[in-house]
Amino acid sequence: MSTFQPKQSELGIVNGVPLPEMPEDLFIPPQALEICLETFTGPMDLLLYLIKKQNINILDLEVSKITDQYIDYINLMDSLNFELAAEYLVMAATLAEIKSRMLLPKVEEEDDETDPRLDLIRRLQEYQVFKTVSEELANMDRVNRDFYLASVGMPKVEKKTNVIDFNAARLKSSMVEVLSRPKLDKTHQIAFEELSTQDRIKLILSILSKKNLIGFYKTLQKSEGKIGVVVSFLASLELAKDGCVDLIQNNNGEIYIKSKVLNAVNE
């Protein structure tokens, strides 16, 4: 039933040859390698794979051998210009360091805890626990894959009892309400060119010359519709930019134009 299949055992192999040991001159289809790389969820996963291939227990980790294989693998990826996550390189460095420490002559009274592999082995064990359990989790019954939920429709009821409060009558009344709402842009057709921002600036300035503060709506003419609003707005912005007016919006969203020129004159 499950669609999850751990593919570890097959995916380190290209054309029947285990990948890490592959001679460099052997042609490997780039797609196959890409699949390979994507199969590993990270350096820990790759390391576990290499250990598993040797058929040894994590506790018997042969750092030297694993390190060589790991680095071969990384080099192979690198030579094929695959973007390796930085963590793969960090792990390579860690392995190389452990390897070199293992090759140093042993000091007799050395504490057991200083085995250079210890930390890595612990991490590998910890990771393996979750890797294993994650595979079990992936195989558990999952909704919409292994089983489905049962659902049915809701009854259709007229009038107020309708549970979703939705019916044709309400739809209609909603439409009627929208259409009968007073409109800013209820209008005649006016060519856009006929309204110039420059003219509107002059108009606003002339109104402001009589009154210090005016509502934005005072600059509008009903017949101009929405385009008129746009032109007035552009004109106001232009004036504000030039420092001639302040634009003020109150809590109700109404816009006011306040003359700065007039103030300056007054002073």
Partner: protein, 190 residues
């Protein structure tokens, strides 16, 4: 467990989340190697109908096929469950009504008619309810999506076709036509 044809059909109706036609049921069964002609499927549905006689469910035929639904008698009981998350906002109602009556219509045109912005969450809500879908793109700058209502919308309203919607009052129709025209002008202008 009895894997007779009724149960196969029943499982499809419970799992599909939408009404299914006889022919759809037949082809799904066929894909699984279960041969059944339309008459057998119809007979299976009849048996299911009997099965539910004493339950809270009923089989119902709507515009896009057969579906299972809860009997009306239980509506009252269910209302408390549904009011919490199924109250339709005023803006949602306005938006769906404009789409229903004016389709196909762009979001910009809806905004034009409503006079306010239509939030993305409303459009998403309508798409998720499967009340609305995109039928194409308008050949104007920006190629805005054209929205139309779906079969599900008709099913949920319990009507068979859009023309079953109540007619709008004459006067409003005229003014709405005007608005639509203005809309197009404005779109071009901006």
């Amino acid at each position: 467990m009895n894997k007779n044809i009724e149960n196969f059909i029943e499982s499809l109706l419970f799992a599909s989340g939408r009404p299914l036609r006889l022919s759809e049921i037949r082809s799904i069964l066929e894909n699984e190697g279960i041969k059944a002609d339309l008459a057998e499927i119809k007979a299976g549905l009849n048996n299911l109908e009997e099965r539910y006689a004493e339950s809270s469910l009923e089989l119902s035929e709507v515009a896009s096929g057969f579906r299972l639904q809860i009997k009306k008698d239980f509506t009252h009981l269910l209302s408390s469950l549904w009011t919490e998350n199924n109250r339709l906002s005023k803006s949602l109602m306005e938006t769906i009504s404009i789409i229903a009556y004016k389709q196909p219509v762009t979001r910009g045109e809806i905004e034009e008619i409503r006079g306010v912005q239509v939030s993305t969450s409303i459009i998403r809500n309508l798409l998720e309810r499967d009340w609305v879908k995109i039928s194409g793109y308008k050949e104007t700058p920006g190629r805005p999506a054209l929205l139309v209502t779906t079969k599900t919308f008709l099913n949920d309203l319990n009507i068979k076709k859009i023309s079953d919607l109540p007619a709008l009052p004459e006067k409003e129709e005229i003014s709405s036509k005007e608005i639509t025209e203005t809309t197009e002008i404005n779109l071009e202008a901006s």
